[in-house]
Amino acid sequence: MKKTLLAAGVAAIGLSLALASCGNPSDPKLNQTGGAPDLPGIKETLVPAMKISPPAGWNGETPTVPQGFTVSAFATDLKIPRQMLILPNGDVLVAEGRGGHAARLRPKDVIAGFIKKQGNTKISGGDRITLLRDADNDGVPELRSVLVENLDAPYGLAYVEGYLYVAEQGALTRFAFQPGQTGIATPGERVTVLPSRINHHWTKSLAASADGTRLYVGIGSNSNIGERGLAVEEERAVVWEIDRATGARRTIATGIRNPTALAIEPTTGLVWSVVNERDELGPQLVPDYLTQVRDGAFYGWPYSYWGRNLDPRVRPQNPDMVARAVKPDYALGSHVAALGLDFARDGGFGGAFADGAFIGMHGSWNREDPSGYKVAWVSFSGGRPVGRPVDFATGFLKDGEARGRPVGVAFDPTKRILLVADDLSNTVWRIAPSR
């Protein structure tokens, strides 16, 4: 009988070890970027990798930028800066806030929610838009004002012909506005309601078409891969096109899990998005991506990833939809959490950074070896991405601690600067060529 007890004890210890050793290392030889990323097999673990990089201050240091560039803090003490917009007169708008009101449905939601919170700022979201004016382009704003407040988790911003469009987490709102104004007193006008039930992925990205007649809104999925039921995924994981004159909307892309930033490619006028893909299939699945948002395209979520690679977790399966799934244009790496996208325009910074896109990568949690935590550059040629991504701003992660987490990026072709919103240190960084 004592042997039985011993055996049971050994079994118990063995199982605990199996649980604890959730080590699931990445293979550095895999190429996870570009048009044809290497996709390893699915590796689900009982305990998902949750590698939170604990926040640490910058302590006077700054991100690392390429030779020939300088970086400085353009604005500090913001309240969770996310996306930015550079107005025709050069003023900078910063949307600040945090949204989402997903109920905790399982013990996991309670535990994982607590753990992920350790990697975020303790500040509460501003629910406002801050205006920064640096007319002489010396890197120090002469004016800082709160343009609008009491918003509901504002994220995407666009300006078209006398209107400032703000994608809040539950509605697209517009304000009559002329560049030069430093405050808005008139109440906003609702353009359209946006899906906001649960709002697991609450950010609503926004871009205006090149001619200003249309607005594009990115709406993220309501779950990782449908674990809240597919009924709550109606009009989620989609990109809407809204006719600015009539307010009529049309869903142009579906199955696009979390399109966190939209931007217009300047040479073609086509709309592109960075998209966050699913978690818990292993450290190197699934690559987040950069893609042209093709009219009518289905990008696979939740049934499949990177084209027709089946996600076995989704039931009932849908082979017809899987057969329709298109591959995105360009992989950015798994779990990098791409949240920012802006194109260099009018020659960009010249040299290696003349034609292409800056991409803000918030950084991973679902892998042991952190990825992202930087601003990357993807070169374009003829309106298409080419080559591998290049680091543009790094140093957000140091000695396993996160000093900052990049979100939105905004390139100003007039001043030749790139702004990077950092929602961990609540800073907007300004990167400019050294003079």
């Binding site: 039985t4 007890l5 449905l105 013990p107 674990e227 977790r313 989704v314 039931r315």
Partner: protein, 140 residues
């Protein structure tokens, strides 16, 4: 000697009340697992996750009583049933913990073949542990 004899009579009913929870909760988690696998209706696996968590909490406390009871009675001659009870309960708890992590995976992976097997094993083991405890005359 057992902890039930040591106390003023309240330990035995408390121990058995606590034990009733993992018996009911593990068993129902098996039913909700089956319901999920038959319908793919997410709410069933959400139920399973909470049922298993509850079984672990109450089963864990009941297990502490069982361990104390066994440790105090180990010198007695007829402790075999207490040992089988303890081993069954401990295994149910450990497998239940694995199952709790299994149920934290998303959608179909939260149950699947492994989750269903673990739920069935937990149910079986906790029924054995309970059967012994409830039929015991002296200890437990």
């Amino acid at each position: 000697m057992s902890i039930h004899e040591l106390s003023g009579g309240w330990v035995r009913p408390l121990h058995r009340l606590l034990l009733a929870f993992p018996i009911g909760l593990f068993t129902f988690a098996l039913f909700t697992d089956i319901a999920y696998l038959k319908t793919a209706e997410i709410q069933w696996t959400n139920f399973s996750a909470w049922l298993i968590t509850g079984a672990l909490v109450f089963g864990g406390i009941a297990g502490l009583f069982s361990i104390a009871d066994f440790a105090l009675g180990v010198r007695r001659r007829r402790c075999r049933r207490a040992l089988v009870h303890l081993v069954a309960l401990a295994l149910a708890w450990v497998l239940g913990l694995v199952n709790a992590f299994k149920h934290s995976q998303d959608a179909w992976s939260s149950v699947g073949a492994l989750g269903l097997t673990l739920s069935a094993l937990c149910t079986l083991l906790v029924l054995v542990a309970g059967g012994i405890a409830y039929s015991a005359r002296e200890t437990l």
